[in-house]
């Protein structure tokens, strides 16, 4: 930002306002004001011209009745809900598929990257083949391929594959029993949240203790217990009576329970594989960047191959891996907008597709959609930068 490092020590030679710092601030302020002015002029001009052309403008439509249905949603939604709520449903769907994709693609990427460097011929060749095939085909084609591949072998609901009479697999998706409760469900979530916080605290404490005293503490198992037990305790205490809604074939489809639609599965598969292949190459590059001497030194200390990888190679490789991997995560988020071609109701399909069309307010809907991608992308970047600064070489 400012070039305050170049300010020489000692008293300034001229009047105060000539100081480099003040001058820098003034110039930046002027540029900022000009930018804001330009933006304001653009917005004002847009509103003026839209009015003149008789095109509706503004965000009032968000409170209007949407009137269309969405087949996959994490919160209550019906055609009687507003466009604003449809927007939230779309955002959540995009976040869901992106989060699922990022977790799975990262895991797959590490497996592929490490696998490709394996001394086992079969493993390294398999990883290389997968990476090179997946990386060099357009994502859209892969998406359509997986959609067809997921759907084709599945039977119609009337011939659905029954999994113990509780869950059913058909070309309408995987339908599983869903929990239903009239009680204060938030208590379960609150217990889960408290457990997570406690587990995190235990983790930090045990790490500090190990560094200071060298004593080990089974933080992993204790943490797991802290996460799992409190929600179960709340459920077991009977304050939140829980029953299971078991899907039943009624007419055309299964009624009740929760349904994982095939569109989501196909999208998840395609995004995971595609990004996983790129992350695999990033991981391989990162591992190769660790000097060979480090591995040899670790081996000389008698570490097992797994421990060499886990304790010596990967921590050093992470410095190289994180920045390009962040890019892959962001790409995955943005690629999830391809959902619209296979009929998964993500943000783009619901909001800048259906909503745009019904309201005709292209600038507002596209603007809001872009803002969501921007905010989420920046949030991912921010998180990964934090992690990166933690992993970066600590100058001692």
């Amino acid at each position: 930002m400012t070039n305050d490092r170049s300010v020489p020590e000692g008293p300034p030679r001229g009047p105060a306002w000539t100081a480099a710092r003040i001058r820098g601030l003034a110039i930046q302020g002027a540029i900022l004001a000009a930018l804001v002015g330009l933006l304001a002029w653009g917005v004002g001009n847009a509103i003026h011209n839209l009015n003149k052309a008789g095109i509706a403008a503004g965000f009032h439509f968000l409170g209007n009745r949407a009137g269309f249905d969405i087949n996959f949603r994490l919160i209550d939604y019906s055609p009687a809900a507003t466009y604003g709520r449809a927007f939230v449903v779309g955002v959540l769907n995009t976040l869901t598929v992106s989060a699922l994709g990022i977790v799975a693609a990262t895991a797959l990427g590490f497996a592929l990257g490490i696998g490709r460097l394996s001394r086992n011929w079969l493993v390294s060749r398999t990883a290389a083949t997968v990476i090179e095939t997946v990386r060099n085909l357009p994502l859209l084609l892969q998406l359509l391929f997986w959609y067809t591949a997921v759907l084709a072998p599945l039977p119609r609901p009337r011939n659905a594959i029954s999994l113990g009479g509780l869950a059913f697999l058909s070309n309408r998706g995987l339908t599983v029993p869903g929990p239903v409760s009239d009680g204060p469900v938030w208590m379960v979530w609150a217990a889960l949240g408290l457990g997570l916080a406690a587990a995190a605290a235990i983790g930090i404490w045990s790490r500090r203790r190990r560094i200071q005293t060298g004593q080990r503490f089974p933080a992993g198992w204790v943490g797991l217990a802290l996460i799992v037990l409190p929600p179960l305790a709340v459920l077991g205490s009977g304050t939140v009576p829980l029953s299971w809604d078991i899907p039943v074939l009624k007419g055309f489809n299964f009624d009740g329970g929760l349904t994982l639609v095939p569109e989501l599965i196909a999208l998840w598969l395609a995004l995971t594989l595609y990004s996983g292949a790129f992350i695999g190459e990033t991981v391989r590059a990162g591992i190769l960047s660790v000097p060979k001497g480090q591995v040899e030194a670790a081996q000389a200390m008698g570490l097992t191959p797994g421990a060499v990888l886990r304790l010596v190679v990967v921590p050093q490789a992470m410095r190289v891996i994180i920045p390009p991997m962040t890019t892959q995560h962001l790409t995955l988020l943005k690629n999830s907008s391809l959902a619209v071609v296979i009929g998964f109701p993500d943000l783009v399909a619901v909001f800048s597709g259906t909503t745009l069309n019904q309201t005709g307010q292209a600038i507002e809907t596209i603007g809001m959609t872009m803002a969501v991608y921007l905010v989420v992308s920046l949030a991912i970047s921010f998180g990964m930068n934090l992690y990166n600064s933690k992993m970066a070489i600590v100058r001692r």
Binding site: S337, L338, V340, G360
Partner: protein
Amino acid sequence: MTIRLAVVSAALSVAVAAGASSVAQAGVLDTVKQRGSVVCGVSGKVPGFSAPDAQGVWSGMDVDYCRAVAAAVFNDASKVTFRPVTTTERFTALQTGEIDVLARNTTWSFTRDANLGIEFVGANFYDGQGFMVSKQLGVKSAKELNGASICIQTGTTAEQNIADFFAANKLTFKQVVFESSDEAAKLYDTGRCDVYTTDTSGLAARRTTLSKPADHVILPEVISKEPLGPSVRAGDPQWANIAKWALFAQIDAEELGVTSANVDEMRQSKNPDIRRLLGSDEALGNERWGLDRDWAYRIVKLVGNYGEVFERNVGAKTPLALDRGINQLWTKGGLMYAPPVR
């Protein structure tokens, strides 16, 4: 998503550039004449309405409407540039002047007239939304569709219609929404959905492209009014008039018995209505109308009357095999009624 980018940049250009209003002032007719062709936004994917054949020759109801406009303006029905637009981008394309006329089996509705800065000029096909199901299911009525999965294309009035219809009949449904009608119909064909829904004319057109057309049946219920018609950008009355009367002239010609085959002799007809329509005597429009007095003669001569256009594109001898139904002339019990040329 390049399409969406195009929509945004087009939307922003109409909004930010002050040019939008100056285009309107210059007049679409002058722009069109200068360019030498009418740019017509069409679907390009609906047989019978607008689709190119294997040789790249366009045909369909909407295509012939565009040709009628070109015939009236240029005395040459081929001076049309067909621009396929998706359901999502169509209105923005019209608002920004990317296209001069939108003829894309688009439903005329209040919100579209009121909020989009566009103007519908009439209906060239009265349609309604229907359902297609596989015969195997043994369904006889749409009211038996409780719980059905429905494949549907995004960006149409159809999404709201089915939500309304199922709610009114206390039924539930699960919709799968696709960006293109091709994909929606393909997935219906594979069995992902029990039902495919769109306008009944679109169902008839789609059925011809399914793997086994005979296995599918269109249910009797028509759940909505879908007056499909061309639209133009609001704010240019001269161009709106031309777009309006290009359609009316075809309907009037059919009512008066004027066809592309007999239009030359009809010019000498004693019937004053026919003489006025074909411009046999004095010109009825002044300079602000903007076209020569034989504009309607050119339309009928080069494109045909409404009945000819209907039979050629969607009538009994075509794969769609649609009845005239409510698209019959008002004199024969239908809805096709055009104001007189006088």
